[in-house]
Amino acid sequence: MNKGKIVSIHSFRGGTGKSNTTANLAAQVALAGKRVGVVDTDIQSPGIHVLFGLDENKMGKTMNDFLHGKASIREIGYSIGEHASGGEGREKLAGKNLWLFPSSIRGREISQILKEGVDFNLLNEGLQKTITEFDLDYLFIDTHPGLNEETLLSIATSDILIIILRPDNQDLQGTSVTVDIARSLDVPNLLLMVNKALPKYDFAELKKEIEVKFDAPVTGVLPLSFDLADNASNDLFSLRFPDHEWSKALRGVAEAVLAVE
């Protein structure tokens, strides 16, 4: 039986464009006709729900309520396909099978997680149940930057781990540790994605060098883009501007995810 895949998106430091990438990747995979879920665990950056146009005040129960048995997963899943509005890009998701599973967003709940904790089996069972209930092909997890315990749990349960890095020394250093951890935890598919690459670099050369360095495929080198920064969190950039270089490279990453057996 071929169940849905858990895809964790991680970066060692903040500011790599991780949430934006996760939202756009999930949207692209949903556009390709797959059934997709997105779990937002990066509670530090008010993130992914904004990109999908979901108002915080509309969010009731969260993933943590579900994991602790206080809510059913059906109560948590928010259908993006049914609420695709407020942006030219977002509107393209109308009718698509894409759900957002918000994690904690309010301070009260953050302390609650720290107190109660989430163990591996609880998280894994919860994610598997989410996949089964919604018949998902892919469940994307937007993780915290860094390697705290919750992130390690996400990595350990992943079928695919995508590490996003910027081409600078600090990100490369941090990525080297994450790569070692992913291998230590037997993650079957490790994919790298370079974001915010300055156009002065030879992207093909950059890709080759990083692949050799980490012995893992670089699925895309995405340029630093002021257009993307301008768009900020207003819309899903790759859907709104499909011909932009950033969007083209992002689709390459989505294709790499779809190609994993």
Partner: protein, 244 residues
């Protein structure tokens, strides 16, 4: 003095195939002209009707850049010849020549030269042959320049390392085609050096992983009881998934 003139004529490209006997005759008809420092020998745009051979002292060949400032193209000294083409084509001078020291030049007038050509058909043929050789030489280099331009556009700079460019000091026979190719080589090498510099910058970025720190951070994370349990649970999970 006249033997010096003969010597110099022998080295001049267009006289390459002319016999010494005829050149001795030409040498006799050349006149001497003295220049004081800063005196203008010829001006850009003037009709060219003589060839000059520098016997003593130095001159500069200048033009103006786009802002109207003087741009020195070359400096010529004893043994060098200026304006040889003007003897045949009579086209206006392409640059101005100014003495940068007191100098003595020998001048061969166009009408004197033409008189010789009229009298001696063998001399005409010898000169035509010289021009033909020169043209063939230039064409060969133009073909090479085209080939190298295409290679450069493709990022293949190997020719600049393999072939040694001909870089004479600026003598009278120093062909402009050779100068062009020397400049071409210099350009390609500079382009390559800049490119290498950029590549090195990239390599520096990607080759600075501190392996000791990497190992230390890895051990800090994996050395906990939490991690040992997680690793065990993850392994069990993956085995279970593989069996499904």
């Amino acid at each position: 003095m006249k033997s010096d003139v003969l010597n110099q004529l022998q080295k001049t490209t267009i006289f390459k195939n002319v016999t010494d006997e005829v050149l001795a005759d030409v040498a006799i008809k050349a006149s001497t002209r003295k220049l004081v420092k800063d005196e203008v020998l010829m001006r850009k745009g003037e009709t060219g009707d003589s060839l000059f051979m520098i016997h003593d002292g130095w001159v500069k060949i200048v033009t103006e850049d786009s802002k109207g400032d003087e741009l020195i193209l070359n400096k010529c000294g004893p043994g060098e010849t200026i304006g040889e083409m003007a003897l045949l084509d009579g086209i206006p001078r392409s640059a101005t020549v100014i003495a940068i020291s007191d100098a003595e030049v020998l001048e061969l007038k166009k009408d004197v030269f033409e008189e010789i050509l009229e009298q001696r058909s063998d001399v005409s043929f010898a000169i035509i042959r010289s021009y033909s050789e020169r043209l063939r030489f230039a064409t060969t280099y133009i073909e090479k320049a085209i080939d190298w331009s295409q290679k450069t556009a493709e990022g293949d700079y190997s020719f600049a390392e393999q072939t040694q460019p001909l870089m004479d000091s600026a003598g009278s026979d120093n062909d402009k085609a050779t100068q062009l190719l020397s400049a071409f080589y210099a350009m390609v090498r500079k382009v390559k050096a800049r490119e290498d510099g950029l590549k090195q910058q990239l390599e520096r970025l990607t080759f600075e992983i501190d392996q000791a720190r990497r190992k230390q951070e890895f051990e800090e994370i994996t050395g906990t009881e939490f991690y040992a349990n997680l690793k065990e649970q993850a392994r069990a999970l993956r085995q279970k998934r593989a069996q499904e």
